[in-house]
Amino acid sequence: MREFARQHPVWSGIAIVVALFVIWAIFAPWPEGFEAIFGRKRVFLNAVFSGITLGALYFLVASGFTLIFGLMHNVNLAHGSLYLLGGYLGYEFAEWTGYWLLSFVLVFVVVGCVGMAMQVLVFRRLEGQELRQTLVTIGISVVAADLMLWAWGGSSYQVMSPDWLRGPMELPLIAGYGRDGELVYLRYPKVRIAILFAAIVIGIGIWMALNRTRIGMIIRAGVDDRDILGAMGIPISRVFLGVFAFGAGLAGIAGVVGGTFQSIAPGEDTRFLMASLVVVIVGGMGSLQGAAIGAVLIGLAEQLGSVYMPTYAVVLTFLIMAAVLAFRPQGLMGRRG
């Protein structure tokens, strides 16, 4: 950051101006002329918040994907299927036990076990053959999509959030002026705030675990050079198993979250697979911070895009990805090599 600011004074200046403008646009009430060009501030704020919340969801899915990729160099194209499975199971558990929070624990354990089974039965047998591993995950995703269609049918499911998370809450952000000139504050669904908060907590938790614990140290060392790590006597296959289970469990949890604030239906698996791919490509493969940045960026691009240019929203996402690939093929936070 400091190096960048020193070397590129012009770009840093532009970045500061843009950042100040965005902060002003979010916090200050918009003047008349500004609203005439950009539409109502409420719409803008809602798009920004939906974008960040969607980004939080994308982060939950993509962080598992990027951890698995970073450590094992395995593109798990069945990751979307794990997300969908988590959503369906979360629905079943929430209906069965009646506790929304409990369903997270159960889904994490069950989908984590599915991930472990995949690691033991599939990836360990094709150790070191990255292309074949990827092909196998495609086969698994095809079979899993069909199995889930069989079990849950084609209709969409909504996981019900508990009572204490229903309804909107008022945020200390000015949405505009009311009829009598008084300030109106933004109202936003409580459950989405909770999701955003939970994603931040989980993200910081993973970051702390990676950077402050011994297991995190082992995983980071494995990302850099797994052969040397194995040679130093670390039981690397057990680390692989743990990370795979954890990443799969995260995808499962994300499924419950997605089922609560959107819905769960066939086809969501490929949607979230694509989202995690784009997030990881933009953020940098194997990097947790990159996943966070990429997720927020893509979430914002999707929501702002769907508000301000409805038929070209996907193009915006695509352009971000193409720009990153063109100028920084390793991703925003990725390392070369």
């Binding site: 160099h73 593109v75 194209l77 047998r125 053959q129 990255e130 292309l131 074949r132 990827t134 092909l135 196998v136 495609i138 086969g139 698994i140 995703s141 095809v142 079979v143 999509a145 069909d146 199995l147 269609l149 069989w150 490929t270 697979l273 694509m274 791919l277 784009v278 990881v280 490509i281 493969m285 409805p310 038929t311 070209y312 929203a313 996907v314 193009v315 996402t317 695509f318 990805m321 193409a322 690939l325 063109a326 093929p329």
Partner: protein
């Protein structure tokens, strides 16, 4: 192969023009089983019924062409690209957009303009994706091309001005050239057969031409090829361009066969289907994709009936295809062709062990 016949012993008159000698050598190099397959395919309309000609063989050749473009990139270039179905879909869309269809946004231009235009646009699109994809290697290529393929799918679903959104285009018919209705089973069979045959020959030729050989060198050792003065990136992007042109042929035929095109035509499942076809058939030879396509078409057409016959639900045929794909990837990384070749090598080895096999040069 011509390398088997020394240059001064060609089968034709040495005074004949060089292209004629070249052609005779090539034709003489075609193995017997290839002649047999050709003969069978040519007389197929005598025995097969319309459903087989149009639905089974027509579809096989079309999917085979698209999978062939993937085989070219993966087998000779070492780049597993999942964008091929999107390129084919774009070509189909362009034919529908610039030519005639049942929707009002079609421009109704003549076919001799529309078909090359569609191919050029699709080839440009594929090359552009290739330009981005070749900046990365190996499994990254799969991820990036898959992300772009799904972006293409979601874009066609959202966009109404070019792609007509969810509904897409219908009533996209081939031109009435020579007074023939090319959607009749027999004409369509020969149309797709000729297209598939030309694409097959072209890939076989390019794989032995200097460009194809350099591409295989780039696949095996990009650094050494760069050191020898070859432009690695240019070869890879050119491979994408060539493969995209092939895929666009498949896409145009596909839109004519279905008489319609919608986002699902180039959806993520269709993208995976092409990969499954190419891998099941085998990624090392141009005949693999057609073999894989034939098996895939047979499975997706008849598996529902077979499954119902044994008492299972007919809707589970995707699971069957996915399962067979998993089995092939696990058992034989180079597909059915690889399995066949290993079996043949095994037999030869057994024969030699018994002391009566023919010795290979």
């Amino acid at each position: 192969m011509s390398s088997n016949t020394p240059p001064n012993q060609t089968l034709a008159n040495p005074q004949a023009p060089r292209w004629w000698l070249w052609l005779v050598d090539r034709v003489a190099a075609i193995p017997a089983h290839a002649w047999a397959v050709m003969l069978v395919l040519l007389v197929m309309p005598l025995v097969a019924d319309d459903f087989f000609l149009f639905q089974i063989f027509g579809w096989t050749f079309i999917l085979g062409i698209v999978a062939l473009s993937l085989m070219f990139l993966a087998g000779y270039g070492g780049m597993v690209s999942l964008i091929q179905m999107s390129v084919a879909g774009l070509a189909g869309y362009m034919v529908a957009l610039f030519g005639d269809s049942g929707t009002t946004i079609s421009l109704g231009l003549p076919w001799w303009f529309v078909v090359p235009l569609a191919m050029v646009i699709a080839t440009l699109f594929g090359s552009l994706v290739g330009l981005l994809a070749v900046r990365t290697e190996g499994i990254y290529t799969i991820m990036i091309t898959l992300a772009m393929a799904s972006a293409f799918y979601y874009f066609t679903r959202q966009n109404y001005t070019i792609f007509n959104g969810y509904t897409g285009f219908n009533l996209v018919l081939p031109p009435d050239l020579f007074g023939v209705n090319w959607r009749e089973p027999v004409p369509f069979y020969y149309l797709t057969l000729v297209a598939a045959g030309l694409c097959f020959l072209l890939v076989t030729y390019v794989s032995r031409a200097p460009f194809g050989l350099a591409l295989q060198g780039v696949r095996d050792n990009p650094r050494r090829m760069a050191a020898l003065g070859f432009n690695v990136t240019a070869h890879r992007v050119a491979a994408y361009a060539f493969a995209s042109a092939l895929a666009s042929v498949g896409g145009i035929l596909l839109v004519w066969q279905n008489a319609q095109i919608a986002p699902g035509t180039a959806g993520i499942h269709a993208t995976f289907d092409i990969l499954i076809i190419a891998v099941i058939g085998g990624l090392s030879r141009p005949s693999g994709p057609f073999l894989g396509a034939f098996l895939f078409v047979l499975l997706s057409t008849f598996a529902p009936d077979v499954l119902r016959a044994i008492g299972a639900s007919g809707e589970r045929y995707k699971m069957l295809i996915g399962g067979i794909f998993l089995l092939v990837v696990f058992v034989s990384p180079d597909g059915l062709l690889g399995l066949w070749e290993r079996w043949k090598a095994h037999l030869t080895r057994d024969d030699m062990a018994r002391g009566k096999g023919e010795t290979r040069p």
